[in-house]
Structures are given as C-alpha cells and as structure tokens.
C-alpha cells in the first residue's frame, strides 16, 4: 500500500509477481514491480513496457507518476530488444 491508493489484498505469493492497481475513480494505473519499484501510468501499454523492462529504470522505493513529458522513463524503454 502506497500513496493512500487502496488495493485488493495480495493473492499470489512468489518472487516474481507484478501487481497493477486501478487508481480508484481515475483512469490511471499504479504498477508495482516485484522489486518494489512502482509508478503510476495513464496508459497500460506504457505501464507494461516499464514493468517488463525490469530492472532498467526500476529503483525500489521510487514512487512517481510517469507523465508524457520528455523525461518519462517509459518512453525510452520502448526499444528494449527482446
């Protein structure tokens, strides 16, 4: 629980669980990586790009909203080779 955003209780245990919470009453999502890093997104696509880029751009304890601005980390992670 972070930033006062309510969430459903955890169900899955395990070491590699990504959790995505709908920000109540808003069209936003809060993504939480298994490493503890979390961020808020407007766009689920960008959210998943950021989550799947772990550990790039992930810092546990780092809580911030990703905006559309030039500094938004999700943008530059799009090209992560697969």
């Amino acid at each position: 629980m972070s930033g006062g955003i309510p969430e459903a209780p955890p169900v899955r245990g395990g070491d590699r669980v990504y959790r995505i919470h709908w920000v109540l009453g808003a069209d936003r999502l809060r993504g939480v990586c298994h490493c503890g890093s979390e961020r808020i997104f407007d766009d689920p696509v960008e959210l998943w790009e950021w989550l799947l880029a772990h550990p790039d751009g992930h810092e546990p304890g780092d809580v911030r909203a990703a905006g559309p601005g030039p500094t938004a980390p999700a943008r530059r992670l799009v090209a992560t080779p697969t």
């Binding site: 459903a8 209780p9 899955r12 109540l24 069209d27 689920p44 697969t82």
Partner: protein, 373 residues
C-alpha cells in the same frame, strides 16, 4: 499483429463425456487427433492420419473392430497403443508403423492433450478446476466452434466476460467507484489473477432469487487465467462480513465458477468450451437455464469481428512485443486485456449510450455490456 498459438502446452480437447468407445476426432492447433477410450476406460489419443497414405482414421469406411482401428483405405489396423498390428496381404508389419501418440490426461471432467514435444509433457502443470467434477456442484456447459483466431478470441473473451461479470450491473454505481481492482501477474507460476472484492454491495436479483440472500452482500470476483487455455472466474456471494475460514472452507457463501477453455483448432478457428458450476440451487432448472443462456451469449458475442478493437487488447499487444520468456508464452502470461482492465474503466464515468439496466437485467450480458466501442 498475429500471435501463433503456443506449442508445448496442454489444451482442452474435449469434455470427458464426449469421448466414448467410438472414434472421436478433433483438430487441435492444426493437428487432427483421434480420441477413444480403451477397454480399460482411459482416453487415448493418436494422429487421425493413417501412416500408409494418411487417410483419416475417423472417417468411414475406417472403423473400429474389436477395439482396433481399421483404416478404410487399405486396411492397416492399429491397436490401442497406436501400433500397427496388421497389414492386409502382408505377414510382417514394419516395427516403425505406428500412429503418433499424444499425451492425454482426463481431469476435472476435461480431456487435456499435450501439443508439442511429448518429452516435455508434465501432467502436474495442468491447471485444475475440481468443482467441474464435484458432486457438490451443478455444472452447465457447452462448446462453440468459433471462426475466430485464438489470440483475438482470448482478448475478447476476457474482455467480454469481465464486462459481464466484473462490470455487469455495477457500472457507475458507488460500489464500483469504491472498490479496488488489482491485477497480479505471477511470472513464475504463469498465472494472471484479477481481484475485485466488494464487501458491501447490492444483491443482484438473480442471486437473491437463487440463494435466498437478502439485503446487502459481500461480492467477490476473482479471475485466474492460466495461459494459454484455461480461464476461471470465481464469483463469491456471502452475507456482509462473512469471510472464508482459514482452511479454505466457506460455508456461509455461495459460489459460481465460470470456466472457459480456449483451444485453437486451426490458425483461424477456435474451440470455445464454456462451463458454469455453482454450489447452490443444485436442482433448479431455471437457474441452470439462465446461467447457460447467459454464458452462451457471452461466447458468441466474443466471436463477432466487430468486437475486436477493444482498448483492452492494446495492453496484450504490447506485452507480446516485450516478451522475453520461453517457458510459458509471455503473450498469454501477461494475459489478454487483464493488465488494462482496471485502466479501461468502463467502470469510471463514461457516457453510456443507453439507460442504466433495470434491476432484472443486471445479470444479463446484453444489457450489461451495451454496444462495443
């Protein structure tokens, strides 16, 4: 983007009740497979093509004679293990003449077949749904052959079914606005889980009629998608304040288990097995009919091409592009529209093209879903 259905996976090929001692053919991932029960009652599965000239063994004049399959073209004869035991006009049968065998497991009333390298088939990886075969539940079920590509269907089935069951009847109500929705993607286990637990909600008329619950209820909805094939929606209805016991028993609650098994037939067609199990009103035909009709409608809606442009599918496309994993195909693991569900809130205020559903419509997909974008 088109995503091929993953190999080296278990798929539901049939309901156990479909397979008797006669020959039964079904195509899974483009592979024609011949099923039947051995004399001991277990399901066996082999290629449905004769090793001689590939004549279909499920097709007349091919036939079953004393438990052996006799090819209708030149009479090659196969035993229960798939081995060729007789070739007309030949005293010797080549040792290598045998039908390709498929690993097959009958579990929870479903017949699972392994498509891929048989050496990798691990039956412990088959996802379970024990209520489907439990005497404590009544299950209605069906199967729709759909002319839709598997990947699109996964997106849309997930989308439509959650539209109906997760959002259904609650769009714009205070319960929605006040209830968190959390999606969990468990990379190791290969499970997508979506939870929405409304602890103090209005009881939909269908539930008050069929369970006898009156007044406010706790209404929990949990989706467990085990890619690629099995989608389970657990719906729990209970008096406010009641929670399951630590040992998992839940005597004060009523449960509906909705299951879809989504199995690609070919690149462009899909078998859609759907089941609804409940642990209340077990003998009530009206309840059975309601649940069956409700689900069949959802399934058929999902196959309509006009529904293939939901916002939810964006997330899964992206997940696919980002895939890195090899064990369970990541496209399915990251799962359908689930990452986007909470973020595509038909649950948040958005102009609806119709009036709010009347109370009696609440559990009906047509009224709950409304026109698609």
């Amino acid at each position: 983007m088109s995503i091929a259905a993953p190999r080296d996976q278990w798929y539901v090929a049939a309901y156990g009740s479909e397979i008797r001692h006669e020959l039964f053919a079904r195509t899974v991932l483009g592979e024609p497979i011949l099923f039947r029960r051995s004399e001991h009652g277990e399901v066996v599965a082999h290629s449905d093509r004769c090793v001689h000239r590939r004549f279909p063994l499920s097709q007349a004049p091919s036939r079953l004679v004393d438990g052996q399959v006799v090819c209708g073209y030149h009479g090659f004869t196969y035993g229960t293990d798939g081995r060729c035991v007789a070739v007309p006009g030949q005293t010797r049968v080549p040792r290598t003449a045998r039908l390709t065998a498929y690993p097959v497991v009958e579990l929870d009333s479903l017949v699972w077949v392994w498509i891929g390298d048989p050496a990798l088939a691990d039956p412990t990886r088959i996802p379970r749904a024990p209520y489907l075969a439990s005497p404590g539940y009544t299950t209605v079920r069906g199967m729709e052959p759909l002319a839709a590509r598997f990947s699109l269907l996964v997106d849309n089935l997930l989308d439509l079914s959650h539209e109906t069951y997760l959002h259904g009847g609650y769009i714009g109500t205070p319960e929605v606005a006040a209830t968190p929705i959390t999606t969990e993607v468990d990379d190791e286990a290969g499970v997508v889980h979506v939870s929405r637990h409304m602890d103090d909600a209005e009881c939909p008329p269908f539930y008050s009629r069929s369970t006898g619950l009156q007044g406010r209820i706790a209404r929990w909805q949990d989706i467990e998608y085990v890619p690629p094939c099995l989608y389970k929606l657990h719906s729990r209805i209970a008096p406010v304040g009641s929670v399951p016991n630590p040992d998992g028993t839940d005597p004060d609650a009523f449960h509906v288990e909705v299951v879809y098994a989504i199995t690609p037939e070919t690149e462009h067609s899909t078998h859609d097995f759907w089941m609804v199990a409940r642990d209340f009103a077990l003998d009530d035909e009206e309840v059975s009919a309601f649940l069956a009709e409700n689900n069949r409608t959802v399934v058929l809606q999902a196959s309509r091409p006009s529904t293939f442009s939901s916002g939810c599918s964006r997330a899964s496309r992206t997940a696919t592009r980002s895939s890195r994993s090899t064990s369970t195909p990541v496209a399915w693991r990251r799962g359908g529209c689930s990452p986007g569900w909470p973020g595509r809130p038909r649950a948040t205020p958005r102009p609806r093209p119709r009036a709010p559903p009347r109370p009696d419509e609440r559990w009906h997909p047509r009224s709950a879903t409304g026109p698609r974008r």
